[in-house]
């Protein structure tokens, strides 16, 4: 509606954002009304011009810290969720989720911790082939989606986890996966090829791994950003 204002109108007062407290109320109302997490951009689009969404969000998060409802951050998005310790009260709302098979759970964990990861890499880690149904199910749940193709021969597709996954498991970002730092430090998230594969396997192979690892991390970060496009 502000767009209709003639440009020669005395600008300042018209484009002044609502006061801080009002902005907080507005963001609160918008997020309260939505079941899905909303990105800061989505929130901003619905607010008057000049609102500082991030500031309002942080204030709200602090306000709701010890309440029955909490403001959760999900990647670039935000959502109100009931406090986890009160879940037992909500048995009426509880949704009976399909029990995931062990294969599905392991595959999901591998994708989350190793993303972006190809199907061959998942199979290498689990030592068995990944059945079509497993990945389909994870994608159907919207916990997993296809990421960028790997720039290796055959250009295989990679799999990454989604904001829905983060929301479901109460994670702000894939970096908050439980124990991910320890696993990385222990080298257990490396893409270490079996000996005899690849050409330069000698004692140098570790040195070679260095920059590759960095690249993988970059890949991760980039793909994580992708998730919220």
């Amino acid at each position: 509606m502000t767009e209709e204002l003639p440009p020669d109108e005395p600008a300042p007062s018209l484009f002044e954002a609502p006061p801080q407290g009002e902005q907080e109320r507005m963001v609160e109302a918008i997020l309260f009304a939505s079941a899905q997490a909303l990105t800061e951009r989505e929130i901003a689009e619905r607010l008057p011009h000049g609102c500082e969404v991030r500031v309002a969000l942080e204030a709200l998060r602090a306000h709701y810290r010890d309440r029955g409802v909490a403001l959760a951050r999900v990647g670039e998005a935000w959502a109100f969720r009931t406090a986890p310790d009160l879940g037992f009260l909500m048995h009426k709302e509880a949704v009976e989720t399909r029990r995931l098979s062990r294969a599905a759970i392991e595959t999901l964990a591998i994708i989350a911790y190793h993303q972006p990861v190809t199907r061959a890499e998942i199979e290498e880690i689990r030592g068995v082939s990944v059945s079509r149904g497993t990945l389909d199910l994870l994608m159907e749940l919207e916990w997993v989606r296809i990421g960028r193709r790997r720039m290796t021969p055959g250009r295989p597709v990679t799999f990454i986890v989604t904001p829905v996954f983060l929301d479901h498991f109460g994670l702000e970002s894939p970096r908050d996966l439980p124990g991910i730092r320890e696993l990385r430090d222990a080298g257990l998230l490396d893409n270490r090829p079996p000996p005899g594969h690849g050409l330069d396997l000698g004692p140098d192979s570790n040195a070679d791994d260095g920059p590759e690892e960095d690249e993988d991390e970059d890949d991760n970060r980039r793909d994580q950003d992708d998730m919220f496009d």
């Binding site: 009931t82 949704v95 964990a109 479901h168 439980p178 124990g179 396997l201």
Partner: protein, 272 residues
């Protein structure tokens, strides 16, 4: 993983003593062979029976445990999937590599490298198992945390703003007014059927009019129904007809006042 070496020899030495217990364990495992997610999963389960940190697991001992499992399956005539047998063959190869003194001429990775990678794979699989369990143990949406029950969707409202300036308004009015001014000129011309047109038409028609016929029959198509057009066409045709009579090409008569006007061609042959 150099710390594997003492274990490998120790595992090799204790193989005899452990064999009975191992075979019993293998039998127990066989019952559950469908429960394994492939050979690596089985190896991990076997490794756990060594009751040591996975980093210290004896790969040689593990290879023997696995081979014992496969031998037991054969004895019990239980069919194992092909990938279990492939793994058995590979572990037999690994075992020979580990037991024989390293051959500097040999191609490919050494037994230690292969063993180290297998140990890494087991550790990684174990780590992923634990991570998966921790992940599933988190507060999950729809189980421990809940979304807004009365979610409100945003209603989309389309609003159309009609724009018009004063100039548009004035031009519109000007357009309406000017339309009035020129319309009469434009209009009247179209509905007149001229005598020239009628004469042209009758010159073609009249020679064939051997018998008396009504004047109306000579009106052109499209000018007969609309009263206004009929009027102008009738006038023009009548005038043209009089011209033809004057020329001696047609005869014309009217039997009574307001009776139909009759016309026919003059037969020139008789005159000539």
């Amino acid at each position: 993983m150099p710390e594997d070496f003492p274990d490998i020899s120790a595992g090799g030495g204790g193989a005899e003593a452990a064999s009975v217990a191992e075979r019993m364990a293998a039998e127990a495992l066989l019952v559950d062979v469908d429960g394994f997610e492939g050979p690596l999963d089985l190896l991990l389960t076997l490794a756990r029976t060594q009751k040591v940190d996975l980093r210290r697991v004896s790969i040689l001992g593990l290879a023997e445990q696995y081979l014992g499992f496969v031998a037991e399956a054969k004895r019990l005539r239980i069919e194992l999937a092909a990938d279990y047998l492939v793994m058995a063959a590979w572990l037999a190869f690994l075992k020979s590599r580990l037991l024989l003194p390293p051959d500097p001429e040999a191609e490919g990775p050494s037994g230690e490298e292969l063993a180290a990678h297998l140990a890494y794979q087991l550790e990684r699989l174990e780590a992923m198992r634990r991570a998966a369990a921790r992940l599933m143990g988190r507060d999950q949406l729809g189980r421990d945390r809940f979304v807004r029950g009365m979610a409100q969707s945003i209603t989309m409202k389309r609003r159309v703003i009609y724009d018009a300036s004063l100039i548009d308004l004035l031009q519109a009015y000007a357009r309406v007014k000017t339309r009035d001014e020129y319309e009469p000129l434009h209009v009247k011309r179209g509905v007149v059927y001229t005598m020239e047109q009628a004469l042209e038409r009758l010159r073609g028609l009249i020679p064939q009019a051997v018998n008396w016929g009504v004047l109306e029959a000579f009106l052109p198509e499209g000018w007969r129904l609309d009263p206004e057009k009929r009027r102008t066409a009738t006038a023009a045709t009548f005038a043209a007809m009089l011209e033809l009579v004057k020329d001696g090409r047609a005869e014309i008569r009217q039997d009574d006042v307001f009776a139909p006007i009759m016309v026919r061609a003059v037969r020139r042959v008789e005159h000539d």
